[in-house]
Amino acid sequence: MIFYHFFSNPWAVFALKLAAVFIFFLTAPLVLGYVEHKGLAHMQSRLGPMEAGRFHGWAQLIADGVKFIQKEDIVPDAADRRIFMLAPMIVIIPVSLVFLVIPFGPAAVSCHAPAGTGGCGFWGENFDVGIFFVLAISAISVIGMLMAGWASANKFSLIGAIRGAAQLIAYELPLVLAASAVAMQAGTLSLVGIGDAQKAYWFVFPQIAGFIIFVIASLAELSRPPFDMPIADSEIIFGHMTEYTGIRFGLFLLSEYAGIVSLSAIAVVLYLGAWHGFIVPWIPGPIWTLAKIGALSFLVIWLRATYPRLREDQLQKMAWKYLIPIALVNILLTMIFKVVF
């Protein structure tokens, strides 16, 4: 009875969901960071962290976090102080908000949740325009990037930020076009709805072109190799993050890894059948979702280990000459598909 009362209080449910999302937002990037440490290391015939926490260095990322917090927070003299300090927040907040709407499991069969709490299920909030919200909000971080680059008073930072902005703008388009084809196929903008619609088959099969475009565009949005020109360490030191130290730099890194998790999660929901499993369907939905997110994130790491980076103009060319036209054709085909069947 107490539980029932508790869950019928919308504020309590909100608080609980927020806490869960926040914890996931903090832990998932750490886990991914650890996997990247280890995965990269073994791909390079190394061991990676082995000391922190005794067992295969599992606590390395925590140790890194502690280190970041302890370090002096240096703001360059010439920097635009307030903007400089604000930029990491602007980058990280949109990324964290994305986690609010990602559905990890199906809706509960019987739902007692009161109206206004987002329904019952493994998600923070079920927006009717979920996909729209996700794509819109994740594009905000480019402002943080520009702020960081401009406020640092460093030429390398500036070049990095401008590159980053150009890249994000160029790749927002294929990303949205690819996602909108999925929304058309599913007939809904709600992420939960799109997940539900993949009960019969995953959208990756009819939307294979869209999926590839989405993954490539996500990589470019995240500035991950082979599209990491905004932070290309051998050319422009570390792009917009060059002047940052301590916890502010840590926040940038956290947002990068959280970004990988969030975009992988979106790709899983849009294309890889969300929580729908195969062969062993009795495994609960959220575990399926997490496993798929993990697999996709691993692909991101794997690409980083393997490929050199492209040049900025080659990247732009790829977006405007190939990805966007293909994405448009993909939408057209989806339309025909929807009308005919």
Partner: protein, 393 residues
């Protein structure tokens, strides 16, 4: 796409040879050039080379290498040290091909003194020089990938280098600064098990070279970044005095191991790999194939190594070459290294002037960097193989 065409001013960034021709009318739209100082502490110059760029957007207008941050006065110091000490010092200026350097000093002194190292010593010297070449080239194979953003080849290169360094350590006792040559021969003979391990390593490295091919040479992204970038025609290369793999990549097969053989290079069979276009990709490719050729030479040394002493019977306690001068040229890992040695019959040289390949390679950076994009700076700098210690000495 015309790969060999360099982008010219007046084109918008769009990749070499594919930009849109834009004519800016009048002075209404003034742009300001930005001066960007790459180095002396910058991740892509591996050392303390500084390149001052003037940038028009991301396009490089002029590039001026600033050298001298690592000047250690090797030439001058040599005048105050005796011949044995110079060998130890010469290890240090090009730290990636230490054996090649000391070999040159030893050869020059020997020529001045009119002695020749025993047969076996010469073969062992050649073996070590070639292993050193492999060591050096692996380093650049790895670091070029790293500079283009592929971090893995670097670690693979160090994996292989580790094996070779262990091998060198077996014989010389050191991993980088070998100090294994002596005027007249070598410090010690090879320890037991060296040749066996050496044979194993040749096989292992030949096998592992395929990894680099898979990661870089065959990779489409790598090709996109390097093909047609930083084209250096053979004539220009010659006029700048560029030697070694960079010259070979421009299609000129000048290699003093072939044209003026020293040691026993005339008795082994090997080729000088040459490139066609002289672009970054060719330079990398030539480097890759030079490793294969070095491994070939090493295998032949294994088969032909004669028995015998490694030092001539009688050597004076203090080396006093007679008055005179000599010039020795050796094909070091990065190109031709020359030693101009003048003696006045003292225990110390009166003058030792080195001609180092890296210095000449760096001198043509302004030519190569003119008009390329900032990201291509890396693709060019990484393929102009140089060691900063070798530039400044």
């Amino acid at each position: 796409m015309a790969v060999t065409e360099l982008p010219t001013a007046g084109m918008l960034p769009g990749g070499p040879g594919e930009g849109v021709q834009v004519v800016i009318a009048g002075e209404e739209l003034p742009t300001q050039e930005m001066t960007l100082s790459i180095g002396p502490q910058h991740p892509s110059t591996h050392g303390v080379l500084r390149v001052v760029l003037t940038l028009d957007g991301e396009r490089i207008d002029t590039a001026t290498p600033v050298i001298g941050y690592m000047h250690r006065a090797f030439d001058k110091l040599s005048e105050a040290r005796d011949y044995r000490q110079i060998i130890a010092l010469s290890n240090r200026h090009d730290w990636l091909s230490a054996f090649g350097n000391e070999l040159g000093v030893a050869l020059a002194t020997e020529r001045l003194m009119g002695i020749e190292a025993p047969e076996r010593a010469q073969w062992i010297r050649m073996l070590m020089a070639e292993w050193n070449r492999v060591l050096n080239h692996l380093m650049f194979l790895g670091s070029f990938g790293l500079e283009l953003g592929a971090m893995t080849p670097m670690f693979y290169a160090f994996r292989e280098r580790e094996d070779i360094q262990t091998l060198m350590e077996m014989a010389t006792g050191a991993r980088m600064h070998f100090t294994y040559c002596r005027v007249g021969g070598l410090k010690e003979d090879l320890p037991k098990g060296f040749l066996q391990y050496s044979e194993v390593l040749v096989k292992r490295i030949r096998h592992r070279l395929l990894d680099y091919e898979g990661l870089l040479l065959g990779n489409e992204i790598f090709k996109k970044r390097t093909v047609g970038i930083g084209v250096l025609p053979g004539e220009v290369a010659k006029s700048y005095g560029v030697t070694g793999p960079i010259l070979h990549a421009s299609g000129v097969a000048e290699d003093s191991r072939k044209t003026e053989p020293y040691l026993k290079y005339s008795e082994v069979d090997f080729e000088v790999p040459v490139g066609e276009h002289g672009d970054s990709f060719d330079r990398f490719n030539v480097l890759y194939h030079r490793i294969e050729q070095s491994l070939r030479i090493i295998e032949q040394v294994h088969a032909k190594l004669p028995a015998g002493p490694i030092m001539p019977g009688k050597m004076p306690k203090y080396l006093k070459p007679p008055e005179g001068w000599t010039y020795v040229r050796t094909e070091n890992s990065l190109g031709e290294t020359g030693y101009y040695l003048v003696s006045r019959g003292d225990t110390k040289p009166w003058r030792l002037k080195m001609r180092t390949p890296s210095f000449h390679n760096v001198s043509m950076i302004p030519y190569l960097l003119k008009g390329v994009l900032l990201p291509d700076l890396i693709a060019v700098l990484g393929s102009v193989f140089f060691v900063v210690g070798d530039v400044d000495r």
